[in-house]
């Protein structure tokens, strides 16, 4: 694999595209996992139950199970499935690479009007979404492959290969990620190992490394571009005379001495690993190539690029069409501090943390004043003064005979659990920690009230009825 040299995007925004928690890229990723995208890339009508992108990390209902693999591959044999997948992944990666390459030269094509910019962005977004789809299927394919390999190796009695953990065939992609970059840095280390690390030649070598691979390194530095200094630090960690990093390059000459049919599957595994890592390279490369598009779009809307990335695709689209941001600055600022996107049933919902429905308000309405209801989790009736423990450090404040009121009990509350006459919690069920401990200790417990810590105050006198799951306030006055 060889990386083409980069066009120079405008200074300062080159790495901005990889900011963690970008709403835009989260949005694009989710779109790439909708049924339509699956159909386009894999020709399969598959729908993921849900995906959540929260605080920059992605969660989805990936179960590694047969259902997912079956939906994607049907009942065809592993070799054909993986081959099909690898082909689709290669095609989508190339589509993104091509789209970004074409777009990177669009500023010379014409001094972009907003319409052109929008057209280009739509083109890129389309490619990006198709590309992202393959993300969700890696893990299933990997599992399929390694299962098939293990089975075949057992049949062919290549015990040694099994013992070596199949590494020879299925190199974990972590070790292959950015191998080209790491190898290049090793070369710098080898060249300047014992020698002059102050000289111009050394600095020039590092500078070249930054310009060749900076786009790859940025995401792992949380969006900060690498510098001569940060590279010097990494160089210190490279041991002298280290073996060259194995590079999975998609070539097929490494496995010539392995018998069929294991060989074929091994080759496929090698190719799969290559595409899996190549995809990341391409994505970073494409991001850096179209950076100028995003910075012009931000400029046209009088926003900085971070604000732009806090918008969804359709919001940017609408804003550019209108000529002004359709999302207020306050909302953008909120999103920059955290957001949550949920894909469910093909629809994407957007949650801003500060705008979540307040459960407590809803629940407050269902409870009569003076009485709190929850689940009866441990029997017995006892009265005492309330002690709210909202933080572990407050646990020691609880006096013997007081009623422990907390969100959920924790084992670390030790002494407080011992001394309390009863437990009342906001959350939990009859099989939760608090309930089990209460029954073992023979103390009344009302669990999952939803509101105890909000309604009850330190010093209130209450009666905890663990038979009926009711807490009654006897005396609202704070002692």
């Amino acid at each position: 694999m060889s990386l083409p040299s980069l066009p120079s995007p405008p200074l300062g925004v080159r790495y901005a595209l990889t900011v963690p928690q970008s709403v835009l890229f989260a949005d694009l990723s989710l779109r790439g996992s909708r049924q339509q995208a699956f159909e386009e890339v894999f020709g399969t009508a598959f729908e993921l139950d849900y995906i959540v992108i929260d605080d920059g990390a992605m969660s989805w209902d990936f179960t590694g199970d047969d259902g997912f693999s079956r939906a994607l591959f049907g009942d065809t044999d592993a070799t054909r499935c993986v081959r099909r997948f690898v082909a689709a992944m290669g095609a989508t990666a190339r589509a993104v690479e091509k789209a970004s390459w074409l777009l990177s030269s669009s500023d010379t094509r014409r001094a972009g009007s907003v319409e052109d910019m929008l057209f280009d962005l739509r083109e890129y977004w389309g490619a990006y979404e198709r590309h992202m789809t393959s993300l969700f299927t890696f893990w299933n394919v990997e599992e399929l492959l390694s299962e098939a390999l293990t089975r075949m190796l057992k049949e062919t009695d290549l015990q040694a290969e099994i013992d070596s953990g199949l590494d020879r065939f299925l190199i974990p992609s972590e070790t292959n990620y950015f191998a080209l970059e790491r190898r290049s840095l090793e070369r710098v280390a080898a060249r300047f190992g014992g020698g002059d690390k102050e000289g111009e030649a050394f600095k020039a070598a590092l500078q070249r490394h930054v310009s060749d691979f900076g786009f790859l390194l940025a995401p792992f530095n949380l969006g900060k571009p690498p510098s001569v200094e940060s590279l010097s630090e990494r160089l210190e960690e490279i041991p002298g005379g280290a073996a060259a990093i194995t590079l999975i390059d998609g070539r097929t000459d490494l496995l010539s001495d392995i018998p069929e049919p294991v060989r074929e599957l091994g080759l496929l595994a090698q190719e799969f690993t290559f595409w899996k890592t190549e995809r990341l390279d391409v994505m970073s490369l494409a991001d850096s190539r179209v950076a100028h598009l995003y910075s012009s779009a931000a400029e046209a809307l009088s926003l900085d690029t971070n604000q732009l990335f806090a918008m969804r695709r359709e919001e940017i689209d609408a804003s550019l069409a209108k000529g002004a941001p359709t999302v207020s600055e306050e909302v953008l600022a909120e999103r920059l501090s955290g957001f949550c996107l949920l894909l469910h049933g093909g629809e994407i919902d957007f949650f801003e943390p500060s705008r979540k429905p307040a459960d407590s308000e809803v629940e407050a309405a269902t409870s009569t004043p003076g009485t709190i209801r929850g689940t009866a989790a441990s029997r017995g009736i006892v009265s005492g003064r309330v002690r709210r423990i909202m933080d572990l450090s407050e646990a020691s404040l609880l006096e013997p005979g007081e009623i422990l009121v907390t969100t959920m009990t924790r084992p670390e509350m030790g002494v407080a659990l011992d001394r309390a006459a009863a437990f009342v919690t906001d959350e939990g069920g009859r099989m939760a920690h608090a309930a089990i401990i209460a029954r073992e200790m023979g103390k009344p417990c009302v669990i999952g009230t939803g509101e105890a810590t909000r309604v009850l105050r330190d010093g209130m006198s209450v009666t905890v009825d663990g038979d009926n799951g009711v807490v009654t306030v006897n005396d609202g006055a704070v002692a």
Partner: protein, 283 residues
């Protein structure tokens, strides 16, 4: 210098017959090994034995490294001591479970953390209170493949409060940790002795813990409005959990407290122990 090497295997696969001995692998692993042998769906795993832990990390590291290569990651490490999970002493939450271990170095750190937890002040206090001599407690650790659960929770073969002979199930989306630690109010189901679902109660379940594959692999996320307005188990699945729970009680010979997890259509048993507050008697 005298030979001080502790005798016995360091690492055993859960399906190894020796794993059914609590003094070798601790109570939790021994029960799971027995259940695996009986044909229950138990996530595959490795037992780091009591001998290994008393010999120290340098002694078992090689064996562990070798074996974990054949165990699908990410892993979960759970304590499996000779004190936990007996009648009258669940030690709930006191010994640690570490959920999300993608590689050997994080596994090693988790093992150290679990070992330290045995000596924590909280555990010692609790042990004394229950009349267990902390000196006699032997530690072992169970390392299993993480089950990326779609729904999970706890089931009791008897109602733990009324002691009625109903199976009571608590359930949430994702992994079962939210039900165990009490950080959400889960859905609850009751199945009577005739196998009829006699109660379903929807919990608020504001969060769930899900397995992810990017960055942090296990994450706590808010549930959606749609999820909150629905039950995390359908009737058919709730009845399946109840059947397994009943069968566990029959096979183990005591009322059981079960941690279960659905991954796709498969129902896994993650843990089974006596209900600590109900005397052992099976009708």
């Amino acid at each position: 210098m005298g030979e001080t090497r502790t005798q016995g295997p360091r690492v055993l696969w859960l399906d190894d017959p020796r794993c059914t001995h609590p003094e070798i692998v601790g109570n939790k692993s021994a029960t799971l090994a027995r259940l695996m042998d009986l044909g229950y769906d138990i996530p595959s795993g490795l037992c780091l034995t009591t001998a290994a832990l008393s010999a120290g990390q340098g002694d078992y590291e090689g064996d562990l490294l070798e074996s974990t290569r054949r165990l699908k990651s990410p892993w979960v490490a759970r304590s499996s001591s000779t004190a936990e999970d007996g009648y009258g002493r669940a030690f709930p939450g006191l010994f640690t479970t570490v959920l999300d271990l993608p590689d050997i170095s994080s596994l090693m750190r988790a093992i150290e953390k679990i070992e330290r937890s045995t000596h924590s002040e909280v555990v010692l206090t609790y042990a004394r209170k229950l009349g267990v001599d902390p000196q006699t407690v032997k530690m072992a650790i169970l390392v299993q493949s993480l089950v990326p659960a779609t729904a999970a929770g706890v089931a009791f073969s008897r109602d733990p409060v009324s002691e009625a002979e109903n199976v009571v199930i608590e359930s949430n989306y994702g992994l079962g940790e939210t039900v165990v630690d009490g950080s959400v109010t889960p859905d609850s189901f009751t199945v009577n002795g005739d196998g009829e679902l006699i109660d379903r109660t929807r919990g608020t379940k504001r969060h769930k813990v899900v397995a992810t594959t990017l960055g942090a692999r296990v994450r706590r996320v808010d549930t959606s409005d749609l999820e909150r307005s629905d039950l995390s188990l359908n009737d058919e699945d709730a009845l399946a959990v109840a059947r397994v729970t009943r069968k566990l009680e029959a096979d183990l010979g005591y009322p059981v407290d079960v941690e279960w997890a659905f991954s796709g259509e498969r129902l896994y048993v993650l843990q089974a122990r006596p209900i600590t507050t109900i005397e052992s008697q099976v009708s």
